[in-house]
Every structure is written in structure tokens, then in C-alpha cells.
């Protein structure tokens, strides 16, 4: 598998949905397992290794999911933009399918970042919602994800949906840094940034370690979820091919 006729490993082999489908099926449980293991270690660190913060008490433990979720939400949009671009330039169907499959998971992490941000803000700032730079950019990012999914859902023609979504994702990728920078400028202008979510000075090391491991866990989870979704998308879109007919026929 994955070898061309000359015996060399070939990436192009896996760019066809037919050969990627079984590969995704093999890889998916491994990534899921890694996600569970990493999250378990991360949770252990965040609850049993990291000590109570002097100023914020135990409320700060929310950042062990808030910050990794925020990282993932932005990272996944970039990955989505990357595969959209590949799909647009090289005209590979699989890349577009991956982009489509990434969007819901990305939106999910954006929601988690917003939810945990609100729950962190209440004890720390005294309100559920603060127009702080990260929360505001996350909100706009959520709108971008929803826009991408809504656009793809509204277009019936599959090829057009792929390409239109790709153009939108690329426009979004160019805009995200600009939006983030604007919102940051705006929020520092309107309120002296009181407590930043990442600037707890003490025990920075264990905190960073916990956040990194949780982020890795979320990353593995995203890969597992995306692979699972890509497999569904492949089956749906390739239903007219013989190999899907054989695949399904063999299962029922």
C-alpha cells in the first residue's frame, strides 16, 4: 500500500479517495487512542500536579482546556484553509473533502473556547462576557466557521460547493491575522487589559506543560474526528463508484 510501481513511497497514491478511505480507517483508532491517553495525562497534570494559583485560586484550572481549545480552533481554520488551497490549485477532490470535514470540529473547539472563556470570566472579571481580545476574535472565528459551513450546505453542486468554500476559507485565512490584530488594538484601547488569561506568573512551567499536553490531546482528537468524518464524506460522494458498492456490500 502506498508504493508506486517503482517501489517508492508515493503521496499521490493516497490522494485518491479510494486508497485514502482504508488508510483513514486504519489510522483513526490510533489517533483516538492517543487523544484519550494525552488528555488523561493532561487532566492529571491540570488537577493533581498543578498547584492552586495564588491570585486566581482554582478557577484558573479552566485555562487547561480554554487555551488549548482556542489554539486548536485557530489552528484548524488554518489547516482548513491549507487543504482548501490545495484542493483549489491541484484540483484534488480529497483535499476539499478534508477541508469540509475539518469545519465542524473546528467550530466545536471555537464554541468550547467561548464557553470556557465565559466561565473563566465570571469568577475572574465578575461578568460572563468580556470584550477581551481573545474572546472577541473567537466569536468572530465562530462566525467564519459557520459561514463556511452554511455556504457549503447552501450549494447543491458538490464541485461548486468545494471550490466556493475554498475561496471563502482562503479569504478567511488572510483575514484572521488582520481581525485578530484589529480586535487586540481595539480591546487595549477601550480597557486597560486587567488579568490576561495566560499571564499567571507563578508555576508557569507546570501550567505550560499541562496546556501543551492538553493541546496535543485535542489535536489528536481533531485528527481522529476529521478522519472519521472524511470517511463518511467519501462514502457519500463516491457512492456511484464500484469500490464503495463493494465496500458497503461486504459490510451488510
Amino acid at each position: 500500500m502506498g508504493m508506486s510501481k517503482t517501489g517508492r513511497f508515493s503521496w499521490y497514491y493516497f490522494s485518491s479517495p479510494q486508497s485514502f478511505y482504508p488508510l483513514a480507517g486504519v489510522l483513526q483508532p490510533w489517533f483516538a487512542g492517543l487523544a484519550v491517553a494525552l488528555c488523561a495525562v493532561g487532566l492529571y497534570i491540570s488537577f493533581f500536579v498543578a498547584p492552586t494559583d495564588a491570585t486566581q485560586g482554582d478557577a484558573y484550572r479552566i485555562i487547561f482546556i480554554h487555551v488549548p481549545a482556542a489554539w486548536m480552533s485557530m489552528f484548524l481554520y488554518l489547516v482548513m484553509g491549507f487543504w482548501s488551497g490545495v484542493g483549489l490549485v491541484l484540483n484534488t477532490r480529497l483535499s476539499s473533502m478534508v477541508a469540509t470535514a475539518l469545519a465542524p470540529t473546528g467550530a466545536l473547539f471555537t464554541f468550547i473556547a467561548l464557553w470556557t472563556g465565559a466561565l473563566w470570566g465570571k469568577p475572574t472579571w465578575g461578568t460572563w462576557w468580556v470584550w477581551d481580545a481573545r474572546l472577541t476574535s473567537e466569536l468572530i472565528l465562530l462566525f467564519l466557521y459557520i459561514g463556511f459551513m452554511a455556504l457549503q450546505a447552501a450549494i447543491d453542486d458538490q464541485r461548486r460547493a468545494d471550490k466556493a468554500g475554498a475561496v471563502l476559507a482562503l479569504v478567511g485565512v488572510i483575514n484572521i491575522p488582520i481581525i485578530y490584530f484589529s480586535v487586540k488594538w481595539w480591546s487595549t484601547l477601550h480597557q486597560g487589559a486587567s488579568v490576561s488569561m495566560t499571564s499567571a506568573p507563578t508555576m508557569a512551567k507546570t501550567m505550560l506543560l499541562g496546556m501543551l499536553i492538553m493541546a496535543l490531546g485535542f489535536w489528536m482528537y481533531s485528527i481522529a474526528a476529521t478522519l472519521a468524518r472524511v470517511r463518511c464524506v467519501i462514502l457519500e460522494r463516491e457512492r456511484h463508484t464500484d469500490w464503495v458498492a463493494a465496500e458497503i456490500g461486504g459490510q451488510s
Binding site: 488537577f47 493533581f48 500536579v49 498543578a50 498547584p51 492552586t52 485560586g57 482554582d58 478557577a59 484550572r61 479552566i62 482546556i65 480554554h66 481549545a69 465542524p104 470540529t105 466545536l108 464554541f111 468550547i112 464557553w115 470556557t116 466561565l119 473563566w120 465570571k122 469568577p123 482528537y221 474526528a225 472519521a228 468524518r229 470517511r231 463518511c232 462514502l235 457519500e236 457512492r239 464503495v244 458498492a245 458497503i248 456490500g249 459490510q251 451488510s252
Partner: protein, 63 residues
């Protein structure tokens, strides 16, 4: 970090609602996605199986 007792662990120094609210919703959302993915896969396979069965029947009647 030694919590001493379960009560202390659940109380989270008085921030239990916020901390556990965050972790619980994150867990629920991720599990919801997993369930949705499993359901979607089952649905796709079921739909396609019906589709292929219908197609086979059509071929047979045509032949």
C-alpha cells in the same frame, strides 16, 4: 497537589461550578460529536446499502 478529600476536590476552592461547568460541557460537546459521527457513519452505510439493493433489483428486473 493533594486535595485531601473528595469534597475539596469537587469544591475547587469555591470555584467548582465554573471549573466543572467548563470541563463537563467540553466533555459533553466532544461526546456529542463522537456520537454524531458514529450515527452519521451508520446512517450512510444503511442508506447506501438500501441504495445498492434497489439498484441490484432494478438491474435484475431489467435483465
Amino acid at each position: 497537589m493533594n486535595w485531601g478529600s473528595w469534597q475539596n476536590f469537587l469544591a475547587m476552592g469555591g470555584y467548582g461550578l465554573y471549573v466543572w461547568g467548563s470541563y463537563a460541557v467540553t466533555l459533553v460537546v466532544l461526546i456529542a460529536e463522537i456520537v454524531a459521527l458514529i450515527a452519521r457513519r451508520r446512517g450512510v452505510i444503511e442508506r447506501l446499502a438500501k441504495y445498492y439493493a434497489a439498484r441490484r433489483r432494478n438491474h435484475e428486473t431489467e435483465a
